[in-house]
């Protein structure tokens, strides 16, 4: 039997290599502020927002406004990736921010086109994916592809930097408001992605203790001993980076062991048969149980040699089966009473989906166990049929893959079809 083990060299994929900037589509005629009215407003220009924009373009819906807090396609997504110094994305090549049925240029073809810019290890990953194996995508490739996808679908000309603070939906339209923003849209698509998960309130009282940070915050340069809490890929990157800085690391895992996994933890839900385990007639409690069981933290196989060597060499101590009881100063106290101290504690406790809370009234969001109340056919909010969700908020309809690029494609197909039909109906009515 041939056993395939991923190449740890993948973790050294170069980032910010000298990627050519191709002729950009013109955006000179873009107004400084978004228009007062549009057929569609997309909130969020991350991978899900890009997919929705591309799909609407292909369905002939051109009066679109994209509002994004960073004002850059996939900007926050890439900032987070770079904060962790992550070099590859675990989503395989066949999943990309395009749209099912409207594949202009596949992510894999895009990478092959730039063969001369890729390392031998990256090229091998492409060959692996061509042969039907699991693969990972260099962040550089993904960034350039997002830029291209945005350009060909006219996103830069319709993208404004804006923080949306409220949505008011009526039977005819949705008001989208925020500082400097007031757009009346016929439809709104929320593509807000995920927020970091905060520590339980029981871990400390009052302000967050000094010497404690989250994964998306910088670590003090003088931290020689670091404590990392969390079991997922983010935590693995934090450990790797700390070791790379020469720090001594304590890694705190609630589970009994690390969970190394070759492909994305949600991969079994990328296919239609996986999605069928959610949605439709599947009872809510069963979906919740599946989410709890399947959306577990895991670490790419590539990390294993590095982490095992560091542990054997005494530079890394792994505290397995050790839930955190409290955090004080730059130390955590575990349920078994042990105190793990360092110069800095970094928390990587996962993420929670943004489901529209704070923008829409609570009764419209209809949150149940942290998930919004969506029409499963269209992914519109049942309480506001002109507002749709794509991305992580759709997980209880599409399964855990709803938060992945593949899930974005599926969500986009449903959302864009419903929106385009609504826009076309109005065009006919006014003809």
């Amino acid at each position: 039997m041939t056993r395939f083990l991923p190449d740890p060299g993948l973790l050294d994929s170069p980032r910010h290599r000298d990627w050519p900037r191709y002729p950009a589509a013109a955006t000179a005629d873009r107004a400084p502020a978004p228009p007062a009215a549009a057929d569609v407003v997309i909130v969020g220009a991350g991978p899900a927002g890009l997919a929705v924009a591309a799909a609407l373009w292909h369905l002939g819906v051109s009066d679109v406004v994209v509002l994004d807090r960073d004002g850059r396609p996939a900007g926050r997504f890439l900032d987070r990736v770079d904060r962790l110094d992550q070099r590859v994305l675990r989503s395989p090549y066949e999943h990309h921010p395009g749209v099912e049925g409207y594949r202009d240029c596949e992510l894999r073809d895009f990478a092959r086109m730039h063969w001369g810019l890729l390392t031998p290890v990256e090229r091998r990953e492409i060959r692996m994916s061509q042969a039907g194996h699991r693969s990972v995508v260099p962040v550089d490739v993904f960034e350039a592809y997002c830029r291209h996808t945005a350009a060909i679908h006219g996103v830069p000309a319709r993208l404004w930097r804006a923080e949306v603070s409220s949505l008011t939906a009526s039977a005819e339209a949705v008001s989208v408001r925020g500082p400097g923003v007031d757009v009346t849209a016929r439809y709104v698509v929320l593509c807000q992605g995920e927020q970091r998960r905060d520590a339980p309130a029981s871990w400390w009282s009052g302000e967050r203790p000094a010497g404690v940070g989250y994964w998306d915050e910088p670590v003090p340069a003088d931290a020689a001993r670091e404590v990392v809490v969390g079991a997922g890929l983010t935590a693995a990157h934090l450990v790797q980076n700390a070791l790379g800085r020469g720090s001594r690391v304590d890694w705190v895992l609630r589970e009994e062991s690390e969970r190394y996994q070759c492909s994305d933890v949600n991969a079994s839900f990328f296919r239609a048969e996986g999605r069928a385990r959610f949605g439709g007639v599947v009872p809510w409690d069963d979906r919740l149980a599946l989410m709890g069981r399947e959306r577990r933290a895991s670490v790419m196989f590539e990390f294993r040699p590095l982490l095992q060597q560091a542990e054997a060499g005494g530079r890394l101590t792994v505290h397995r089966g050790a839930p955190v009881e409290s955090v004080a100063g730059s130390a955590v106290v575990l349920a078994n009473g042990r105190r793990v101290a360092g110069d800095h504690v970094t928390l990587a406790l996962g993420t929670v989906p943004a489901i529209g809370s704070g923008l829409l009234p609570d009764d419209v969001v209809g949150a149940r166990d942290g998930w919004p109340d969506l029409d499963e056919r269209t992914l519109a909010y049942r309480g506001a049929p002109r507002v749709f969700a794509a991305g992580a908020a759709t997980c209880m309809v599409l399964g855990p893959a709803g938060r992945n690029i593949d899930g974005h494609r599926v969500a986009t197909a449903r959302v864009a079809a419903a929106v385009a039909a609504g826009v076309a109906d109005r065009a006919v009515a006014h003809a």
Binding site: Y22, M113, R124, R127, G154
Partner: protein, 147 residues
């Protein structure tokens, strides 16, 4: 006789980047190849992605039809020399990479004065010359190409 080795053997990852791109171009429709030939300069990848932009009307300064017209002009100028450099082969290889190498060599032997990107697209058009010829002929009556 040695035991059959089931270890998965990957194709070479050391191919010239143009070969990888060439195999991709072999799968494109003739409209995209002609448009690419029309806009190609030094870099074939730029031309590839520019055509993607044109197909989406993402540029105010150029249209797909104009790029295709320029491609037809270049094709018709180069075609006789390509034909002289690479007379009809008896047997075509089934190996895409070998086919591509033969086409690229034909472009090189034709003694054409053109940039790297144009050479790559000419090779792709040469491999698909029957379709490219049909489309170029159609251009005389302007259906499908001329606005």
């Amino acid at each position: 006789m040695p035991e059959y080795d089931t270890v998965f053997s990957l194709p070479s990852v050391d191919e010239d980047p143009d070969t990888e791109l060439g195999v991709l171009l072999m799968g494109l429709g003739p409209e995209r190849l002609l448009a690419g030939l029309g806009v190609a300069d030094a870099d074939p990848v730029s031309a590839f992605l520019l055509v993607d932009q044109l197909r989406h009307d993402a540029r105010p300064d150029l249209t797909m039809a104009a790029a295709m017209r320029d491609g037809v002009t270049r094709w018709q100028a180069a075609r006789p020399r390509l034909a002289a450099a690479d007379p009809e082969p008896g047997v075509r290889s089934a190996a895409l990479r070998r086919l591509w190498a033969v086409a690229l060599r034909a472009v090189g032997n034709a003694g054409l004065s053109c940039g790297h990107g144009e050479r790559v697209f000419l090779a792709a058009c040469w491999l698909r010359r029957a379709e490219i010829d049909r489309l170029s002929e159609a251009d005389r009556g302007a259906p499908g190409i001329a606005p």
